[in-house]
Symmetry: C2
Subunit: 415 residues, 2 copies
């Protein structure tokens, strides 16, 4: 167990952040490439540390899912290294002049993109987050203060130390990536209260972690929330297109947040569309409301809870609505503000859906699965925000920065 | 005392927000002009309610400052009405397409500015905030849920009700402006925990309010922090310009957050500049460090606390630094991240100061007093954020919005 106190780590991270903020992209990219090489070189050491973590985790009776997330392999280490090289290849958001103008008194005003400072990441048993998060923070000029879980401590230690060595070799402050090795619950609470140290906290974990943050955090944070995503098939939908989109949104990768969880169908096309979908969604458990059930043999009755659930599995709630207003009202009630799609060829319906549905992303005639940093052209993704402040939707490198006013004068004073 | 519960008010605000988000600027502007007329028409009623508040406040032994903030006059009511007309005249931020592009698969991706939804404002004894905040929220398409203080309740009631009537007359949902009339402390705590109701909380008040929010809030918030602003006079400064800037930054309006609180002087010009400033800052109490004191007759020794204090008065901490690095380090240590200025004719010093000082705003050869929504061209100002997430520096109408992804396809699915 490390004897370094959290406030000490915080001070080191802040010093590193000040230095890192002024470093050119070339140095940061060189560090990322060296860190990728470092991971490859240390692969044996990483795998051996990981084997210790995995053994401990199995011994303590962890679920197979947890053990699977924890377990690294040569391929997974290679994928982590490739991830670092991919981040190195992305454009640097720092220094972008977002806007600028000259005031009537001659003051030149610019708004310039700068790093946030210290980004805190608190995460569960995924050692790959250590490398991913460190890379995204470094590229965006932020020091990363990483608080992983007890279960992945040995793996995280080796990965973070290999990363710090690469950073130092590239002439950047090694404290730009710091791992908090004290994994006590009390330290997690202390971590989310490091006001003045952490400029932005990004949690990567489940509901218990989010609750802890809502209850205790005093530092600013960005939450990556649930995705209870809907596809609404309008009266004027091309039903073949609708079928393709619903199948894709539900089945292409059901375990992710941008997969569809509820299908809403306009009553005018339900008789034709739903029996067809019953066949197309072969293998999907359907929970249907009163009007949809007779059209979906084998479905079970949908409860209120079904419409509120993010299944993350081959399960789908299905409802029939009277019209567009009914669909919009249903989404307002049950949606989690992630990604919502309409299938329609009616311009007015599309326009109203886009305008009236309150979510990070709305889609017309496309699968919800496209709401993802890679698919939208952001490159790497830090997460998908379902909150409205600071970042909404997929968060890329730009969301790890903020904008500062820079004002150039020639001696102006306020009259 | 109203019997409407906070959750009920929250539901009403959310419904109103959904309607308001789709309303055109013309309707919102008409409502603001009607609200301005309403304030003028109700002036007698407002002043009479305010007289009750003031009398109660005096009786309870409130300080003259508190009573002064609370007290309205015909002129102040007229100024509130003018404020509403000024907001009506500003451009509407809603609907702006912030960026857009077409993906290789033909998906058209846009990012569109939309209202936040429900904005919660929690504020102390200033009844003018009721009208100001309601206007800014309405213009930006947000429902305003206003939680004023007990001391201003009668005034707030009349102002909010006059505002709601104007909104209804313009055909907008009257619940778009709702006042929480329960002013118990427990309700304030409940208010900042209305997760799922309040999309953004903006506090307008002192350190006790901020602490309460840090401790209890579960809704997202934007804080308007202290301004411990510095002016650094470099070795290469034009000393006449520096004198004008320091006098302006300290003395033009010492009670505001963008006034200067500390003067830092390069040791190379201290001998010439400081005695001159001692005369120019006539009437300002100077707290000088060891090196500055002999050059400033009548100054008192500066303590550590002086450098950390936002005086908001005719008082200034003064320090001599060895060089630019010393100034940057001092600001990193004591600054509150608001507005920091350098006076110099040296390009490298200006460039380094701009890059290395971490604040909402940095200025070269201009008074810190320019960091204000009006002076920077934002029109109305909601406050000045010293945090980094969502908004940094002066917050205008744009900071009361967020950006949503809109994706238009022709049936695209993810392979």
């Amino acid at each position: 167990m490390s004897t370094v106190s959290l406030p000490d780590l915080g001070r080191r991270a802040r010093s590193a952040a000040r230095l890192l903020a002024t470093m050119p992209s070339s140095a940061k990219d060189a560090a990322l490439v060296l860190a990728a090489e470092g991971l490859t070189t240390s692969a044996d050491e990483i795998l051996s540390a990981n084997a210790t973590d995995v053994a401990r985790s199995v011994e303590s009776g962890a679920s197979p899912t947890v053990v699977d997330r924890l377990r690294l392999s040569e391929e997974r280490v290679a994928a982590m290294a490739d991830g670092l090289r991919a981040v190195a290849a992305l454009p640097d958001p720092v220094g972008e002049v977002v806007e600028g103008h000259v005031r009537p008194n001659g003051l030149r005003v610019e708004r310039v993109r700068v790093p946030l400072g210290v980004v805190g990441i608190i995460y569960e048993n995924r050692p790959n987050v250590t490398a991913d998060a460190a890379a995204l923070c470094l590229k965006s000029g932020n020091a990363a203060l990483l608080r992983g879980s007890a279960g992945a401590l040995e793996s995280n230690r080796v990965i973070a130390s290999s990363f710090s060595q690469a950073i130092a070799k590239a002439g950047l402050p090694p404290d730009a990536v710091l791992l908090v090795e004290d994994t006590a619950h009390a330290t997690a609470v202390e971590f989310v209260r490091l006001r003045g140290v952490i400029d932005c906290l990004i949690p990567r974990g489940g509901p218990a972690l989010i609750s802890m943050i809502l209850e205790h955090a005093t530092v600013p944070y960005v939450l990556d929330g649930d995705g209870n995503c809907h596809v609404y098939v309008d009266a004027a939908a091309d039903l073949s297109m609708a079928e393709r989109i619903v199948v894709n949104a539900k089945m292409q990768r059901p375990s992710v947040c941008n997969a569809a969880e509820t299908l809403l169908v306009h009553k005018g096309v339900a008789d034709e569309f739903l029996p067809r979908m019953g066949l197309a969604l072969d293998g999907v458990v359907l929970a249907a409301d009163e009007r949809a059930r007779p059209l979906l043999p084998g479905s079970r009755p949908a409860s209120e809870a079904d419409f509120a659930t993010e299944f993350l599995a081959l399960e789908l709630a299905v409802g029939v609505v009277d019209d567009l207003d009914g669909a919009i009202a249903h989404i307002a009630r049950y949606g989690s503000g992630h990604s919502e799609a309409i299938v329609t060829s009616d311009l007015e319906a599309a326009t109203r859906f886009v305008r009236e549905v309150d979510a990070a992303a709305v889609l017309v005639n496309a699968s919800t699965r496209f709401i993802d940093g890679g698919e939208l052209g952001l490159g790497a993704e830090v997460g998908i925000s379902t909150q409205k402040l600071h970042a909404r939707g997929p968060m890329g490198l730009r969301e790890l920065t903020c904008v500062k006013y820079v004002v150039y004068g020639q001696g102006q004073i306020r009259p």
